[in-house]
């Protein structure tokens, strides 16, 4: 299937900052600032960035758990940016989310079977036997057993709970699944299991997956394309191999150089960023990255904010950097 399942244009999410005696709004945080993103049918797109860069906010807006401040989200051709109530229901069936924390995402008082069946109940599968059968199918798909239906979440390990969370998200056979750091809270040994499971299921059910993570190694394993976020903006977007082979944005380069290599003798060429991630309440002028950027040029990067521009070379590769992409780009190094 060709074409885009999701088209995001100029998406902005601001959170008010309240303070003072009367809790008046004294400022705002631009968690997501002017993001454009297309997600194609059947692909897995990785979304990486450090804590607080807005990747979770973006993910939650896509499943409409948060309402965008401005911009549009089109899902399968339909504008879903501000739909509510009854109009939202068919959308809910088609878009699901997997959460980061396997402990907080399951109701401790609900039996696993009921938790997974909730979606079926809400979307019109009223026959109890049919629900049970589909729950069992789904449990087996994620590597659990029928005997687990009547158990409670506290009887499971973190990895098993995450499988339950995946089963809950997939029972409605959604078209788009936003996985919000689904493996960050798990042991490394279990991470691989859950990742492989997600990959298998994604192929089997031809899901479209938005995979949010802060770990580039994890994203590399699962994604077709990768979007890198910094301070509310997407700074680089391309397919996986291009990104790892030829990162353009200095921020992406720094991120990639931070991946540990399991070889103590190999010399490491680390780009160490200076300074802290700036406050999104008061972001830097121009390119948000310029105060930490090793190649920033005065009077350009600190004045004009760059948008995603095509990189030279013809491959599908975009970066938000004046010096590395777009018409004014100088030769890449």
């Amino acid at each position: 299937m060709a074409g885009n399942l999701v088209e995001v244009r100029n998406l902005v999410k601001e959170f008010p900052v309240k303070g003072g005696l009367l809790q008046r709004q004294i400022g705002k945080v631009e968690a997501v600032a002017d993001v454009d993103l297309d997600i194609r049918h059947g692909e897995t797109i990785g979304l990486v960035g450090e804590s607080g860069c807005g990747k979770t906010t973006l993910g939650r807006m896509l499943v409409r758990l948060l309402e965008p401040t401005s911009g549009t989200i089109r899902f399968d051709g339909q504008d879903v940016t501000h739909i509510h109530g009854k109009d939202l229901r068919p959308f809910r069936r088609r878009v699901q989310i997997i959460f980061q924390d396997p402990y907080g995402s399951l109701d401790p008082r609900g039996q696993v079977g009921d938790t997974i069946a909730e979606g079926l109940k809400l979307h019109g599968v009223s026959d109890k036997d049919e629900r049970h059968q589909r729950v069992v199918e789904m449990l087996e798909l994620v590597g659990l057993k029928e005997a687990h239906v009547g158990r409670y979440p506290h009887e499971f390990s973190g990895g098993q709970r995450q499988r339950i969370g995946i089963a809950r998200a997939l029972i409605l056979k959604p078209d788009l699944v936003v996985a919000d750091e689904p493996v960050s809270a798990l042991d490394v040994s279990v991470q691989a299991q859950v990742l492989n499971l997600l990959k298998e299921i994604q192929q089997e059910l031809s899901l479209t997956l938005l995979f949010v993570a802060h770990n580039l190694a994890v994203v590399e394993h699962i994604s077709d394309r990768i979007a890198v976020m910094y301070l509310g903006r997407i700074v680089e977007l391309t397919d996986r191999d291009t990104l790892y082979r030829n990162p353009l944005h200095p921020y992406t380069q720094a991120l990639l150089s931070a991946i540990p290599v399991p070889d103590p003798d190999r010399p490491r060429n680390r780009t160490i960023l200076q300074g802290e991630i700036p406050s999104p309440i008061n972001p830097p002028s121009g390119c948000h990255f310029h105060p930490r950027c090793p190649i920033a040029r005065k009077d350009l990067c600190d004045v004009e904010p760059p948008s995603l521009m095509d990189a030279p070379g013809g491959v599908e590769h975009q970066a938000a950097c004046w010096l590395r992409a777009g018409d004014r780009a100088v030769a890449t190094g």
């Binding site: 758990l65 809910r92 699901q96 989310i97 995402s105 109701d107 909730e118 809400l122 009887e155 969370g165």
Partner: protein, 319 residues
């Protein structure tokens, strides 16, 4: 190397645990709590006392040798405020047996205390139920809605909390008029903010959980999220608070009755029994001693049970 070996062992153990578990019955939160509760001596003591009291209240006509308001002068050869007479302990056989003595109106104190348990328990139960239902509804609405509604409701609760509880109860009874039912109402109003606040705090904490968000993402309505996800998970501390609340309610009711604002004579109520005979502390101590003991024992029972339940339901003790 050592780390990975430890991991491997851990994984194996998990698998093994999983296999043996397949043959066990699933254990819900309440069942686990019950199991923990049984292991706690203080909680079981409290439960024992409370169950005993309930049995006494239920079978009062069988246990009590006399009617609670039966005046025995002229019926038996007795006088006012006769001290306890127990045949087993050497009281002469020809005097009639009154194990807790007789009061100022020549009524059998033991029978009155037995019947008094009915008054105290029903009052404690209804007060707490009323306060729990109204209070937690206010708290749940307040916590889930937030904003100005939350502000208004919570400021009202703050106003109630601003008064010393017994003083406010007295004021309410003064407006409504004395009597057991009005005392019940007054105590319920006074204890309302506690339940509202605990419920609000619970809802505030629980509504941020991912499983609530997951329900929303699946398309649940606000009402069903509140009723099926948030409230069932908020109940634990409220159950504890309610159990302890029964003790407080009984104590306050006894206090109001002591002041003449609760149960009206000739009703057999422990607090008013105390009040009527308080001047005879030195001449006939049994008349204040036994009602006092009854109040103390009841309050102790509910407090111990509440403590035991708190320990058993405490989520931090969940393995």
């Amino acid at each position: 190397m050592t780390v990975s070996r430890k991991k491997a062992i851990e994984l194996l153990e998990n698998e093994a645990g999983d296999i043996t578990r397949l043959f066990e019955k699933p254990t819900g939160q309440w069942r686990l709590a019950l199991r923990r509760f049984r292991g706690r001596r203080s909680g079981m003591t409290g439960l024992f006392i409370v169950v005993g009291l309930i049995l006494v209240a239920l079978f009062a006509p069988i246990i009590a040798p006399y009617e609670p308001n039966e005046i025995l002068i002229g019926v038996e050869d007795v006088t006012r405020r006769d001290p306890p007479c127990i045949h087993l302990l050497g009281c002469p056989e020809e005097t009639p047996q009154h194990i807790m003595g007789l009061d100022g109106n020549v009524r059998d104190v033991f029978s009155r205390i037995v019947y008094g348990s009915r008054v105290s328990l029903t009052l404690g139960f209804f007060t707490v139920t009323l306060a729990l239902v109204v209070g937690s509804t206010i708290g749940a609405i307040s916590g889930y809605a937030g904003g100005w509604l939350d502000n208004i409701l919570m400021r009202i609760m703050d106003v109630i909390l601003g008064f010393p509880s017994l003083l406010l109860a007295i004021a309410i009874v003064a407006v409504l008029g004395p009597g057991l039912r009005n005392a019940l109402l007054a105590i319920a109003i006074v204890t309302l903010p506690g339940y509202a606040r605990v419920m609000r705090a619970q809802v505030l904490a629980i509504k941020e959980n991912d499983y609530v968000t997951a329900s929303r993402a699946l398309g649940s309505s606000t009402r069903s999220i509140l009723l099926k996800r948030i409230i069932p998970n908020s109940l634990t501390p409220l159950v504890v608070l309610a159990t302890l609340g029964v003790a407080t309610a009984i104590l306050e009711a006894a206090g109001l009755s002591f002041l003449g604002l609760g149960a009206q004579p000739p009703a057999a109520e422990w607090g008013s029994m105390l009040a009527r005979e308080r001047n005879q502390v030195f001449t006939s101590p049994h008349l204040v001693f036994f009602p006092g003991i009854a109040i103390m024992l009841t309050v102790l029972g509910f407090n111990l049970m509440g403590d035991g339940m708190r320990d058993a339901l405490d989520p931090t003790l969940n393995r």
